[in-house]
């Protein structure tokens, strides 16, 4: 560690190699927002409950408010700024965003499901989204947009509809 107490952390962000010097207390969320000019990820709670800060770390969705930046050395981070806007039309059409504060985190989760539709064989979309709190939409617009974004891949794996019916039926 150099004398200024900062740690040099080389990492990949949205496909580009960068290196940041951060205090050991910096959370990945702070580094993204205040040092790298990537304010798309939001802080909603700072304790991993709301999911507004969701990014992908080595391909898995995580709450960036719970990840110390120094742990990201040599790892790959994808943020909302790295998402292809063209994939999001179904979310827009279904009313998946209202105030937009939860939205970047929701999109990071929804895109992850869209790219890993096999998970819908074992989990419903509503279960997979349960770590992303939204106070505006009541979730229906998000779930609908996500289902449309996932498309037939999801239903093929027992997606929204069939899984939901099944889990409801199991209660009987």
């Amino acid at each position: 560690m150099p004398d200024d107490g900062l740690i040099e952390v080389p990492l990949t962000i949205n496909g580009a190699a960068v290196s940041v010097r951060v205090p050991p207390t910096d959370r990945l969320l702070d580094t993204l927002r205040y040092r790298l000019g990537l304010p798309g990820s939001k802080e909603g709670c700072g304790e991993g409950e709301c999911g507004a800060c969701t990014v992908w770390l080595d391909g898995l969705p995580v709450c960036s408010c719970l990840v110390p930046t120094f742990q990201c050395r040599g790892r790959e981070v994808k943020t909302i700024e790295g998402v292809d806007a063209a994939t999001l039309a179904p979310m827009l059409e279904s009313g998946a965003t209202q105030c937009g504060a939860c939205t970047p985190g929701v999109v990071m989760m929804a895109r992850w499901v869209a790219e890993h539709p096999e998970i819908l064989g074992s989990h419903t979309m509503r279960e997979l989204l349960a770590g992303n709190l939204c106070r505006c939409t009541g979730y229906d617009g998000i779930v609908e947009g996500m289902a449309r974004m996932v498309g037939p891949k999801g239903t093929h794996h027992g997606g929204a509809d069939s899984t939901e019916k099944k889990s409801r039926g199991e209660r009987v």
């Binding site: 998946a96 989204l129 979730y139």
Partner: protein, 771 residues
């Protein structure tokens, strides 16, 4: 039409208050981080004996920090500053001086470049409070030592409604049913916490920008505290990540705080204050807790003969908006029913809790919960189906409400058939069939119970009584040199879709493509005061003003009021062209204007609470189906039908989103959102243990939303208010469904939220009573 700023939000490109460059784009150095020292527990009330700086000592360089306490306020406003937050009253100090009235009251402000150092400095300030006996339970009469604020028995506002002769009617009624209903506080949990940036510009103007619903409320508060006129202050709204009422009154407080820090910092340096979730939950306003007592006379056919209703709300430690919340609460307390004799006695009680403020529904959800729960209690007493009791009492056109308002059609539209609305909800929910299935299911299941619950209700659209007339809202629609038009309103986008719907309204009225209409950023130097973004008034009231301002614009460019399409853009461009060719002087602005005028025939008397409380009402019938697990006592909503009449539906996706979102917020209020209080402070101020609904707590089939459309001729594009209505019905519908599910046990779920702990308590009480 798709949400205009939707793609920016989906891609993370939208910029909220904390998302801008470090210097907030002002070029005066990076924002200082501002934070707040608050009065500590356990004293919810008492004298501030001492403020000790430097507790814990080392490592804090105070010379690098800006510190403001109450003594700085006069000086920071040229010797004239006033330590008062202007809302309805002025009783709340900007910073507590000698006395604190609740825990977590703001006492000292600190700002500095290094956020971590500011954090440590805040922790190093000790506010020593000499505690006095606090009033923490609004439900009981205060002791002599608890009485405060110069109020009689801590009643800070009392309002009443009187119709007919309640005592005589109750004495004569064959059946009188009594009940007591209670609802708890609710935290807004907008996902973006409160945040603000303040600076003093080169001309000495005090500027504030940030997350807010009502720029002119913040402006008026700044004018008051800084003792200046509107030329000395400027307020700009940034993209706002949810409000729900939580950013109606509180932004005035945090706006004043950043402004004072910036004034003290000097040099035009901006100061940014962003609350974290814990501070936001502990220190900002919440929904008023409420206790309602009903005493209702009915005849043997279930006709309401008399309603005697007492409403008691916890106002918290300062007036804030409580008188108006109480007003809306009592007006909705008797429900959408005809009853010849009604008395509502409402009291807002001062306590030493954090002040309660605006929250979606604004007092109506509380009293509607009591009313609709009570209707089911009456039905049970009469051995009548709940829908039948409602069918017999729902208002018919021509009948009067508790305030004597005649409910009638708004020509040329037909009247609203509230019974048909209810029947539609019952059919959509499969009410009769489900009831039968549940009987069989509940008999067969050892640990699950299912039930159905109904609520029929109303929500007054826009401000109460003469509120809009006093407000005199003003709207501008500017014609731009390139032929586009710009809607200039102070009514804000906070997620509900204002920008999109206002664009639709102006584009429609002028026959322009949507991309020929822009909605201005709410900046008080640009937009006139179109009133606050509250009370479900935006589309109905401000939308109508936008239509009229469009008409005014047409006249100003020499067109007829009904002109539409390409000629409009042409005429706007021509106006600018001529103006520039002629003058050579400063470019004139082309502005169409409209100022509010009340619809004809609306009469309200504020002194007697008689007359037309609202120009119109939204009407709704909601049905909840729940399942209660007798092993965990968890109640879950498994199906929900929401049928409403809100005038015309202008944007179906946005309208559905308002209803689904409101219903789910109300599911949280009804089943899970519980406050843990300690000495008047919120003890569970984290999202770990203040639980709001997730996607998995919503019925798997979604909220089933249906609209009955019946245009309201005095609302923008035929609309009535929509935003608050969906918060009103789910609470009682769910509680009624829980009562239905657990009817074999004889429990009365008359207190929200129905957490598993509370359901367990009810079940144990019922068992003990049967033993």
């Amino acid at each position: 039409m798709k949400r205009i700023e939707g793609l920016a939000k989906l891609t993370g490109a939208e910029r909220y208050v904390d998302d801008g460059p470090a210097d907030a784009g002002l070029g005066m150095g990076p924002c200082l981080w501002g934070m707040t020292v608050r009065s500590p527990p356990p004293h919810a009330r008492g004298r501030v004996k001492e403020i000790r700086y430097g507790k814990g000592g080392g490592g804090i360089d105070w010379s690098k920090l800006v510190v403001v306490d109450h003594r700085d306020i006069p000086g920071l406003a040229g010797g004239r500053g006033v330590n008062e937050v202007l809302m309805i009253g002025t009783d709340q100090p900007v910073l507590a001086a000698e006395y604190v009235r609740h825990v977590h009251e703001a006492v000292v402000l600190i700002a500095g470049e290094d956020r971590e150092m500011v954090r440590r400095a805040v922790a190093a300030v000790e506010v020593v409070v000499e505690g006095e006996e606090a009033a923490l339970d609004y439900r009981v009469e205060p002791t002599a030592a608890q009485v405060q604020g110069g109020f009689d028995a801590n009643v800070l506002k009392r309002l009443g409604i009187n119709k007919g002769d309640v005592e005589a009617a109750l004495a004569a009624a064959p059946i009188v049913v009594e009940g007591e209903y209670e609802t708890g506080a609710q935290e807004h949990v907008y996902i973006e916490c409160n945040g603000m940036i303040g600076w003093v510009d080169a001309a000495g103007v005090v500027c504030v920008k940030g997350s807010m619903q009502c720029p002119y409320y913040v402006l008026n508060a700044l004018k008051h505290t800084f003792a200046c006129d509107e030329k000395g202050v400027r307020v700009i709204q940034t993209a706002t990540g949810g409000g729900f009422g939580g950013k109606e009154d509180y932004p005035s407080v945090i706006g004043l705080h950043v402004a004072l820090l910036a004034a003290k910092a000097g040099g035009g340096r901006p100061v940014k204050m962003i609350y974290d979730r814990g501070e936001d939950m502990q220190a900002t306003t919440k929904r008023h807790p409420c206790l309602v007592r009903h005493r209702t006379g009915v005849d043997r056919d279930g006709r309401l003969l008399a309603q005697d209703i007492q409403v008691r709300m916890d106002a918290g430690a300062y007036v804030t908006l409580s008188p108006v919340v109480l007003s809306r609460g009592i007006i909705h307390a008797a429900g959408p029913y005809f009853c010849p004799n009604v008395r509502v006695d409402g009291k807002a009680i001062l306590t030493n809790s954090v002040p309660y403020g605006a929250f979606r529904g604004f007092g109506a959800p509380q009293t509607i919960f009591a009313c609709e729960r009570h209707m089911d209690v009456i039905a049970a007493r009469l051995g009548m189906a709940p829908e039948e009791l409602r069918r017999r009492n729902l208002l018919r056109d021509g009948q009067t409400t508790a305030t004597g308002q005649v409910i009638k059609a708004h020509a040329p539209s037909p009247g609203t058939d509230r019974v048909a609305l209810m029947d539609r909800a019952l059919v959509a929910a499969g009410w009769a069939k489900k009831k039968q299935e549940h009987t069989a299911f509940n008999a067969a299941s050892d640990h699950l119970r299912r039930g159905m619950g109904l609520a029929t209700f109303w929500h007054g659209a826009g401000f109460t009584g003469s509120g809009e007339t006093y407000l005199k809202s003003r709207v501008h629609v500017a014609g731009l040199p390139d032929g586009r038009v710009e809607v200039r309103i102070a009514t804000t986008e906070m997620g509900q879709g204002t920008t999109t719907v206002m664009t639709q309204i102006a584009a429609d009225r002028l026959g322009l493509a949507a991309d020929r209409v822009v909605v201005a950023v709410p900046d008080t130097t640009v937009v006139p005061n179109s009133g606050p973004t509250v009370a479900s008034r935006t589309v109905m009231v401000v939308g109508r003003l936008v239509e009229r301002a469009c008409e005014d614009l047409l006249v100003r460019v020499g067109l007829g009021k009904d002109a539409k399409g390409a000629v409009v853009g042409e005429a706007v461009r021509r106006w600018h062209h001529l103006r520039n060719a002629e003058g050579g002087g400063p470019r004139g602005e082309l502005i169409g204007e409209a100022v509010y005028r009340a619809p004809p025939g609306v009469q309200w008397d504020d002194a007697t609470y008689r007359g037309d409380a609202y120009g119109t009402f939204g009407w709704a019938a909601y049905v909840a189906e729940v399942e209660v697990d007798l092993r965990t006592y968890a109640a879950r909503v498994v199906d929900f039908v929401a049928v409403q009449e809100v005038g015309s539906v202008i944007n179906p996706t946005l309208a559905r989103g308002q209803v689904a979102g409101g219903v789910v917020q109300a599911i949280g209020w009804a089943l899970m959102e519980e406050f843990a209080w300690k000495d008047g402070a919120m003890a569970n101020a984290t999202l770990t243990n203040y639980i709001i609904p997730t996607s998995d707590d919503v019925p798997r089939g979604g909220i089933r939303v249906e609209f009955v459309e019946n245009p309201y001729p005095h609302g923008g594009k035929g609309s009535k208010g929509i935003g608050e209505l969906p918060m009103d019905g789910p609470g009682p519908a769910i509680a009624n469904a829980v009562a239905d599910a657990l009817k074999e046990f004889g429990v009365e779920p008359n207190r929200l939220p129905l957490t598993p702990e509370r359901v367990m308590g009810m079940m144990e009480k019922a068992e003990a009573a049967h033993a």
